[in-house]
Assembly symmetry: C2
Homo-oligomer: 282 residues x 2
């Protein structure tokens, strides 16, 4: 999916919601356990219940791998089931030396048909570039994550040029700056956690055009209105993810309906914000 197509989806649905399919088999409703593949059944119903309210789905691979090859099969069925109107994100946080990253790219872009994959920047250019060589596929690079541990390294000041103190900024900012030489706004997004609303303005000054994938709304407590105000650009430029608050809204037989209710709440708030920001009218 291209950036323009994603923007069109956002306008059409008046939503920049991404639903995170962190489908932990121990947390899905018990009545689904009678199915051959309970996790796929769960995902199917969540997708059916929310697809007109969101523009993206993001399965986190950990919740599938923990069930071994059976879990991997649930993931394969899920990606095949998601309508191709939706942007798909393999939240896999991969990254390895060049020939190995190419294998990961094949896993998620060819063996499965994800539009994008989250990648960790620690290993640098040759761990990220192989993913960028696939046409119409995206890297979503970890920049400033939503968790407490983002303080450990991402916020630490770093000297770009040892001789100068003018070019000193935190690691996450260095990652954003350097990676802009690797990809473009058409194939590279950044992960910026909603738990850092004060950073969105700064990040937009460095990366005005790139989409940002924003986790941390919902269970982690980020503020949708704040991050939208500071993070939105002329293509909206935000995919705001919520996982647990939507998919585990109920653990009963009404889980689909309950998920829809929460997703609708987000969609309506987003439609309101898009109107206020004059991105959509009416």
């Amino acid at each position: 999916m291209t950036r323009q197509q994603l923007f069109q989806q956002i306008l059409q649905k008046r939503s920049y919601l991404c639903v995170g399919l962190d489908s932990d088999i121990n947390r899905i409703p018990k009545h689904l356990l009678k199915f051959d593949d309970p996790v796929f059944e769960f995902n199917k119903q969540i997708i059916d219940a929310t697809k007109d309210l969101c523009v993206a789905y993001k399965p986190n691979t950990a919740f599938y791998e923990s069930r071994g090859s059976a879990g991997w099969q649930s993931l394969e069925k899920t990606i095949a089931y998601i309508p191709n109107t939706h942007f798909t994100i393999a939240d896999a946080k991969r990254g390895d030396i060049g020939n190995t990253s190419t294998q990961y790219a094949k896993a998620f872009f060819e063996s499965m048909t994800f539009d994008s994959i989250t990648v960790a920047p620690y290993m640098g250019v040759d761990s990220v570039s192989p993913f960028l060589e696939f046409e119409n596929k995206w890297v979503i690079l970890l920049a400033l994550t939503s968790n407490k541990g983002s303080q450990d390294f991402q916020y630490k000041d770093l000297d770009d040029e040892p001789a100068s103190t003018a070019d000193r900024f935190p690691l996450f900012e260095k990652v954003i700056r350097v990676a802009q030489k690797w990809g473009t706004a058409e194939n590279l997004m950044y992960v910026v956690g909603a738990t850092h609303p004060e950073m969105f303005e700064r990040i937009r000054s460095i990366a005005p055009d790139h989409f940002l994938l924003v986790p941390g709304v919902g269970a982690q407590g980020g503020d949708l209105r704040k991050i939208s105000k500071f993070g939105m650009n002329d293509h909206v430029g935000l995919l705001v993810n919520s996982s647990r608050s939507i998919i585990f809204a109920s653990d009963g037989e009404d889980f689909g309906e309950a998920a829809r209710g929460v997703a609708l709440g987000y969609q309506e708030e987003m439609a309101g914000i898009l109107g206020e920001m004059k991105v959509v009218t009416g």
Copy 2:
């Protein structure tokens, strides 16, 4: 496996060799393609041919994931086949927010029975700690990787305390220092590429007791003797990995024998070094 048990294995085999099972289905000998699971058949013969010469095996998950759930099954069979005398490393480079890292730990430590997993440090403490909560299991944290991209962030100077210039050192060193508060020499190792021999002395001054997993010997050109001289500690403290130079030594029917030949070369060189360093006698 405990640190002491690993040390005993090293003494017994006079080897600190790790064989990397980067078993790319496009590079294994063609005659294996007639088997139901060619990659598992390949791994089986490589393991049979090398197990008395090495102390560890390290499948890189990318080469399995690229084949989808079928590849994941090859990985499951491989880990089940490796003798429990050998230290096993899931070279997966994972790391995510807390509850998600726990899922990855379950995938590799419970659903499969790896002794250890490689983890990327970018997301900080709560992305790494969940792995350390599993008894007798290990985190092998990326510190200074063997690839060109290690220059992009790992080597950049970072201020520990913004007010002071005394505590300025590269990111990889910060990672090593900080992570020592998270784990011990009994459950935490570091990845340090053999392509940085000049850094081993410095790293040993910070982390004298921890094992180091050292990729980059062989195809990537690292120098075994140099890294052994500067990196060895009183428990040897090194696992030196080679993947492609061993497993793809031949693409004919003699691939097992050829792999054994290369592995034997490493083992003999290691036995010599262990003798010179007076770690083993005779």
